[in-house]
Chain length 251, copies 2
Amino acid sequence: MTVEIVTAAVLVIGDEILSGRTKDKNIGYIADYCTAIGVDLKEVRVVSDDEAAIVDAVNALRAKYTYVFTTGGIGPTHDDITADCVAKAFGVPLDFHPEAIAIMKERLAKSGGELNEARMRMTRIPRGAALVANKVSGAPGFWIGNVITMAGIPAVMQAMLDEVAPKLKTGAKLMSESIRADAKEGDVGTELGVVAKEHPDTIIGSYPFLDETMAPNTNIVVRSRDAEKLAAAKAAIEAMLVKVRAQLGAA
Amino acid sequence: MTVEIVTAAVLVIGDEILSGRTKDKNIGYIADYCTAIGVDLKEVRVVSDDEAAIVDAVNALRAKYTYVFTTGGIGPTHDDITADCVAKAFGVPLDFHPEAIAIMKERLAKSGGELNEARMRMTRIPRGAALVANKVSGAPGFWIGNVITMAGIPAVMQAMLDEVAPKLKTGAKLMSESIRADAKEGDVGTELGVVAKEHPDTIIGSYPFLDETMAPNTNIVVRSRDAEKLAAAKAAIEAMLVKVRAQLGAA
């Protein structure tokens, strides 16, 4: 059985993230979302509002992964240049999009405000792109090739992700099990490495934490696309932990 | 007067960030820190615990920026491969480091625990690197060339950053002023673009938000390394806002 692996990257665009002024909330959200629907998020980049940086990142990432999700830079001001950059990356013109204009007009009829030059910026869409509806604030994102361009404001980005998710190819979900080691990471690391080598179709991660007594403890997470292999690795880790804890207790 | 621009990138290493299991807290912290000390954070990447991905990212980023800060992947388990990858990126061997071993022994004498194979992993340092002290939990980071490798646990990373910060070259600080527009972003965008063009030595960003009455509002942030140019741009924006708000009121 061949299991298709569907991969993705996130490209966060904005000076405000790199200056620290705004703390990104989209990376973790998209990461959880991808895991839930069976898409492997493989890379994230954050770049500034700089044309060359954005174009280079879009082209590098779209060549490597099934999907690229961009966030940020699609508002009405001079520093919102994501649409320009995606168009440039794909070598297509940036057109005023009739449907985007109609959406903006309908919104403005309700909320008040003029369809001025600034707001018209938000109706510029790379030629050939499909619109991604924005049920929160109107101005749409878009989808061209394997690149999905969304807003930076978390509530808007989340609504856009809900719009595109049903249309994404998804792979077999990576299932996971979490095992509390009740031991220090340094005390189980050697043996855990042996288990990891013996279970090559699983991904085993080790994450230290301080438990409720403030003692160093470890969570071990096993992930696999195969339920049987996942269960076998989990059982091997639990057996290893029983052995190691007994040795530590006896020492 | 030539002002030196000191740049940096952050490379976050870890499957747990990309799966969503762990939400990164280091990017925003390092971003604030860089802004405070006069280092321009230009790019962030997050990659998985994969040798090729880490080596490629280290080499791409160290060629482009003054400094590269890596976080994550320097613990005692098989999935901690950052030291291996940085050594490979620099083409140097990874040695057991006598000072790192001494630090680990001293720690373990107090906390209990054996200097086993897993913990010895944490004493492997790329040849030629200087250690970065870890006042929180002992196991050091390191600094080789322009790459500074730190832990992923926020408290440990923060302590390591405090260790290296006094030794970093820093540039002229980017000063900033924030101006509340009391207008919708779409109503000020066109005029703000004109001001931005007239003040090329400043960086002007526009950030929509919902104010205390839940009305759409806008924060405008001006940044510059030159206090006079910053003040001039701020004054120009305030004058523009007075004019635009008067027009909107009259409409």
